[in-house]
């Protein structure tokens, strides 16, 4: 298929439809409104259902219901709305239900701003809701990657029976870029024998539930889920290493920030400074071993995490580097976007230190 020029939010919505998503439940919030708008327009025409719920809490519980019935289902929101969904997300993880949750992050805390931010990293990767659980968190840097990750994300969700989050930001949602929708091959997925599709006596009753009142039973249930997480950590890590060979300083950045860093890398090169980029594409599972391996290289003197936050991913970078090299942080927050000159300045300052 030919390339089309699309807004990020619309590309994400179209990718979901092409991946077989037929149910969308949401509530409006800037800067992701084009996703529900697109779904509202398209889904009824192809036999799907769009519902604008009365609240985010309601929307995420509709996702629980549709997923329990075996449907491919998605919801989207932006930071404050995602906070409201946390209870439902925890229940979805506890009941082992697959679904896609899109967070087009804006500045926080509180109602915050509507400009791009990455300050929901902790919420996305370290829980957000209560209890022992993880979501798979996918962080695209380009619209084409967003399209590809949405499609694969639905398969990851189904394969592991676990919620998957696409973590973008206002810039990714609002910008336009050419994208191509090539037919997605898809993974071999097991049939959803667990879904509550109506009991007719031909199989055991299926029960979807996250209440395990007996602590021993709950511990066993959580341990079973964590076996699944081990497999995800082993098989699903995605990371891009860019210009790392020979680099003195390696920058860690994800999503739109990584694009700004790529510009900084070419600016640094022009001044004779070798800078690399490690770009986690999955934020959970995090590519710890990639950081560990580059930290072992003689030529790498330091790491710098650049984020649109006050420093969240930097904690995972430190775990990966494991004390082998110093790890620095540079960030802007509240909807402010780091300027390439400021990042380059920071790199030069670190070079003076190490």
């Amino acid at each position: 298929m030919a390339k089309v020029l699309m807004k990020g939010n619309e590309a994400i919505a179209e990718a979901a439809i092409q991946a077989g998503c037929r149910y969308f439940f949401g509530y409006p919030i800037t800067p992701q409104n084009e996703i529900p708008a697109y779904m509202a327009k398209k889904l009824p025409k192809i036999g799907g259902t769009f519902i604008q719920a009365e609240s985010e809490v309601s929307a995420i519980n509709m996702v629980y219901g549709a997923s329990g019935a075996g449907a491919r289902v998605m919801t989207s929101s932006s930071s404050p709305g995602i906070s409201l969904k946390q209870e439902g997300i925890s229940y979805i993880a506890g009941a082992e239900l697959p679904c896609m949750i899109v967070n087009i992050v804006r500045g926080g805390p509180g109602l915050g701003s509507i400009q791009p931010a990455q300050s929901d990293y902790f919420q996305a990767t370290k829980g957000g809701g209560h209890g022992d659980y993880h979501m798979v968190v996918l962080a695209p840097a380009t619209l084409q990657e967003a399209v590809n990750l949405v499609m694969e994300g639905f398969d990851i969700a189904d394969q592991y029976r676990n919620p998957v989050m696409l973590l973008g930001d206002g810039m990714l949602g609002q910008m336009m870029e050419p994208v191509e929708f090539s037919a997605y091959e898809g993974r071999d997925l097991p049939p959803k024998t667990w879904a509550t599709t109506g009991y007719d006596g031909s199989r055991q009753r299926n029960i979807i539930n996250s209440l395990y009142i007996d602590p021993k039973a709950l511990e066993e249930h959580v341990q079973k889920i964590y076996e699944k997480y081990k497999a995800i950590e082993r098989d699903e890590v995605k990371v891009e290493c860019y210009n790392c060979e020979g680099a003195e300083i390696i920058v860690a950045a994800y999503g739109t920030t990584s694009r700004i860093v790529k510009k900084v890398i070419s600016m640094a090169k022009a001044e004779g400074i070798d800078v690399g980029l490690i770009r986690p594409i999955t934020l959970w599972p995090f590519p710890y071993s990639t950081f560990s391996e580059w930290a072992d290289r003689e030529h790498v003197k330091a790491f710098l995490s650049v984020e649109m936050s006050m420093g969240q991913m930097v904690e995972d970078v430190r775990l990966g580097v494991d004390g082998k090299r110093p790890v620095y942080f540079y960030g802007r927050t509240g909807g402010m976007v780091p300027h390439p000159d400021a990042i380059l300045e920071e790199i030069k300052r670190i070079r003076g230190d190490v």
Binding site: L5, Q115, G170, M171, M175, M176, E177, R259, V337
Partner: protein, 177 residues
Amino acid sequence: MHEEIIMAGFGGQGVMSMGQLLAYAGMLEDKEVSWLPSYGPEMRGGTANCSVIVSDDLVASPIVTDATAAIIMNKPSLGKFQDVVIPGGSLFVNSSLVDEKCGREDIDIYYIPANDVADEIGNSRVANMVMLGAYIKKTDIVTPDSVINSLKEVLGPSKAHLIPINEEALKKGAEFI
């Protein structure tokens, strides 16, 4: 070839659609493109701007910090964006609405009475296309044909009658270069 353009004006002046058309035209010519809007609580009559990158190479950051050109549709935008243009770049000012001059001597400046030209050819709403016509003539970044082909895609058959006046506006704009 690597062009980074800022387009700015009032909401309703077609600033966003001018940027989208340029990005679309670049894509039709197999170039790498991105379009990034300022977004916020904006409305008709408020200020609006967008950043477009058209390049032979993959677009790294879609944010324009060093513009090779700026298209200024109204007075507040001149003050805001005239210094963003790199030395050797170009500035296109809609002199129908901007009575100020830019004092810089290290860039090429074109004053184009885009609203007057658009009124002359019969529709004040094509002032943006007059400016775009001047810009693509100066930079050769895309052909007028590609812009028109993009417009045909965007407008669809029901608005095909608007193509000739847009074509005319591009031509009139080019005459100022």
